[in-house]
Symmetry: C2
Subunit: 568 residues, 2 copies
């Protein structure tokens, strides 16, 4: 072995979605046993999610683990790194990543860098939506939604207050695109099929609403199919709230721009995405050309037809973050999984061509069809120019997705899930696998009650933004509190009922502190302890002995609060 060992050429792929995983798959296929090229894939999760089936996971038709594939299993010959990208050092050609506890940034060197990054959820323009809406973007979302819906059914079954029960049984989805339409269809199926187990819920009490900004749902589909989808959903009891845009959300309602409010405890928001911050960063600093769509700059890399970033050899873009000239000559390729997979194939071929110095080929592909499932064995589809609705479309939809699902084990498992689902009742297990979340922020719209006099209370509230009004016994003296002020402080001192009602008078964000968190902090930060002792003495002179020592009377930290006396 006297040969000089040549350092292999390194291709680094950012992102583990359709674009990233398929680029890696095609690359390993093309490379075979070549050892002069090394491929490394970077992703925050160790699995690939088959996103089109997420609504069905949310509805319990398929087990969560069956629509995900470990990336290592899909691309066993590729190096895989589970990490977050902190920055890209374009000069030294290395990606700086944070892995594990993130105590060091680790450099990952590249010769070719392939951007395969998707958009991220972004609710900031709609107050309260980040805090109170559920998204439908990744596996965790689907998992959470399913458990949340089953929790609502459990609570509705034993809720004596009719108004509260109605909100528990109203399921609202915003967004009439594929994700929103499939989610409301699947939710309706889950709830309808589960009702048999909840004898104290009348099916007439259940409502579904689909909120959509435009006049017709599924705008990407031909008009006749949009209409068919709408009719199928309406026949199943879904209210169409069209031409309406989401303005805000609170713990008990969602608000529209036209002033309407829908009282609900389940609000799924499929609208509101933002550019990926890594793409934004690269566009700002990396000397890339930003893509244009209908004359407007969008958050994507302008690429050649070869998928190489325009003017930046060695950098490539595939999928949602790529502005690829459409093979039809008009506009850009759409950001769909169908296109991402085909783009990945072209990108892999051209990467090898670039390395070997052979000619590259342009991206060429036309969409094969378009499908949307509506739940309950119904769908709408257009394939090879043929339009289908109802059961036939649903059958086509299942067949296509089953064929596309990577890996035989998953395919088999999903097929089994589907088969069992035809014969057996839907699973209503509400999995409580989430750890209790501590500090969190709630948003309230004007007029909403935050606490009600007489209710049991175990949280302290700190106003971050807006204004609230405190009133007792339905009238009398009213006190207004603003940003940086505290209320509900008695609740963290004793098992007590609220001695006043607090309503938002302006849109308000409040930080909610549980009793145990409050105690941990107050008992240990002397400055906080003094502050609260002072506050309590001023507000409740009768309830507390004077001075900072007052807080020494607090029960021990996590406390044996009633909520913790639980049957196992």
């Amino acid at each position: 072995m006297n040969d000089v060992v040549q350092k292999p050429i390194r291709i680094v792929i950012l992102g583990g979605g359709f674009a990233g995983v398929y680029t890696a798959r095609y690359l390993t296929r093309l490379l075979g046993r070549r050892r002069d090229v090394e491929v490394e894939l970077l992703s925050e999760e160790n699995y690939f999610v088959f996103q089109p089936l997420l609504p069905e996971v949310a509805a319990g038709g398929i087990a969560a683990t069956h629509v995900v594939n470990p990336i290592r299993e899909l691309v066993p010959k590729v190096r895989f790194r589970c990490c977050s990208v902190a920055a890209i050092d374009f000069e030294r050609r290395q990606v700086m990543v944070s892995q594990g506890a993130g105590l060091e940034l680790v450099p990952v060197a590249y010769d070719h860098l392939v951007f395969c990054l998707g958009k991220v959820t972004h609710f900031a323009s709609m107050p309260g939506v980040a805090e109170h809406a559920l998204a439908m973007k990744d596996l965790a979302d689907a998992f959470r939604l399913r458990n949340h819906v089953l929790r609502c059914l459990e609570l509705a079954d034993i809720e004596p207050d009719l108004e509260a029960k109605r909100a528990l049984l109203h399921f609202v989805v915003a967004g009439g695109g594929f994700s929103g339409v499939e989610t409301i269809g699947e939710l309706a199926e889950l709830v309808t099929r589960s009702l048999a187990y909840f004898p104290r819920i009348d099916p007439k009490e259940v409502r579904f609403s689909l909120v959509h900004a435009q006049a017709r749902i599924l705008p990407e589909m031909p008009e006749s199919l949009s209409l068919a989808a709408r009719q199928i959903l309406e026949r199943r009891g879904v209210d169409m709230v069209l031409g309406a845009r989401v303005r805000a959300a609170s713990p008990s309602a969602m608000y529209l721009h036209d002033g309407r409010a829908l009282a609900t405890r389940t609000f799924v928001c499929t609208v509101g995405t933002a550019p990926n911050p890594i793409v934004e960063g690269a566009l700002a600093q990396g000397g890339f050309i930003q893509a244009q769509h209908n004359g407007r700059a969008i958050s994507a890399f302008a690429t050649e037809r070869t998928l190489e970033c325009a003017g930046r050899p060695g950098y490539w873009a595939v999928g949602d973050c790529a502005g690829i000239p459409s093979p039809t000559g008009q506009g850009l390729c759409p950001p769909t999984a169908q296109f991402a997979i085909r783009e990945a194939k072209t990108c892999a071929r051209n990467l090898i061509a670039a390395i070997d110095g052979t000619p590259k080929s342009p991206f060429a592909f036309r969409a094969l069809g378009i499908l949307a499932s509506l739940g309950q064995r119904s769908a709408v589809a257009e394939m090879f120019g043929i339009r289908l609705t109802g059961f036939l479309a649903w059958f086509a939809w299942r067949t296509v997705y089953l064929a596309k699902l990577p890996g035989w084990v998953r395919r088999l498992r999903v097929a089994l899930d589907w088969t069992l689902d035809l014969f057996f009742p839907r699973d209503i297990t509400q999995l409580q696998v989430f750890q209790h979340q501590h500090l969190h922020v709630h948003h309230y719209e004007p007029g909403e009650a935050i606490v009600q006099q007489g209710q049991l209370g175990r949280e302290l509230y700190l106003i971050l933004k807006g204004e609230v009004e405190v009133s007792a016994n339905g009238g009398g003296k009213r006190v207004r509190l603003g940003a940086r002020e505290v209320f509900g402080e008695r609740a963290v001192l004793e098992d007590t009922r609220r001695n006043a009602t607090v309503c938002a008078t302006q849109a308000a964000d409040v930080l909610v502190l549980s009793r145990s968190d409050f105690h941990a902090m107050v008992k240990n930060l002397p400055v906080l302890s003094d502050y609260f002792a002072e506050l309590l003495r001023a507000r409740h002179p009768d309830a507390m002995p004077a001075g900072p020592a007052a807080l020494d009377h607090l029960p021990p930290t996590p406390g044996m609060a009633p909520a913790e006396l639980r049957p196992s």
Copy 2:
């Protein structure tokens, strides 16, 4: 319909484990179409967990949802209430429950009350164990353990530091009873079978340790089987740490009473249980007689052989919380699922007898056998006096459990899981479905480093207990900090590396605050803002402009910290 409508007699069952669910099942079977008796079951979760299979869920051999059954599905004719028990009002014969947001306590009236409550996990006597060990008690534990182990493999695969890698690949289980032994066996199988996907992990780097207080594992089993189990596990590379008791745990190690420390990032603790608080409360206030075991009072109700609580007609106890005279005449019935199911049958029969005024019958049952699975198609078992080890025992184990699993759908699904598991690789998907946990407490033993100079830092620490020492540049001035003092405060102000190392000098509990939590609090509680501005000015006079205004320079709340720049 001129008959006076008689109010039905109400039987309320507390707890949704084997005892509670089987009592409800036998009751509905015996009651048939009778409408003069109403049964209501109260449980915190809406599902029943088949606990004996939890270690296999943790190891990914069975999907989490396949070992749980919705209680509503198991006992469709019984009223079900998903709630926590806050108190029992023995005088008015009603259970006070907290349901939903817990804003009101709801009374649930009973004529007969059946206690079917299990023990609860209790780690308080071992510092740091509650914070850093994983339990193996419910579904959430199994789910978390599986994802945690896969996370460790992902991190170990890319960890450059050898010592850190070794800790990531050391899996420690405490407790040599059924739960502990089955967990280490299943963990060994999961890790061993997953290694093929992690090319940078050498199988020789992986270690498993089983810590047990006594000299032999599985003390409930005949000695020859204990020995066989030990030999099988040792052959598979499990280190036996016998005669050793758990003293404490920290983020990077577990400590034994004999002074030894095992460096590990995965510590599963199957020892440490406490009486159920509801049982304790009832024993203290309800006029019940406490059961005695070997001359000591235990946390269980002394019952007649009919399962009625001694001296308290109308109150019954089944399962772990019942001290039932053993049919053999010696001691009490053991707290196993096998006994709980048989006790439930007797209890249901006697409840009906009590209502109808017919004679009650005493509990009579002898254990059929005893089994423990060791993973990798191996087990130890004694059934009807015959002792089995290895594959045959494992086959018997599977058959018995499959037959006992309630419901045909689950049985089918578990059978499919087992079949697929024989032919396909183990699923290594690490599900990130947990929301990020904010405020949490870490425990450190003397000598352990909490932060290291030069590392990136994004958390602030508040000492709750104990003492730490701050030192910079490997020597020079050392500062000691104690309870109620703060360190790491620079990290929440800027993306910075730690400018000092902080080690625990005494066992220390510290509250860890993430940057975004810190900002939310400090920006809104003026008193905190002043306090930290003061602290920073005193400690870092060069780094900050003077005065409380200093904190206005903080980046906006959730911040675009590197960790948040993530590929999707």
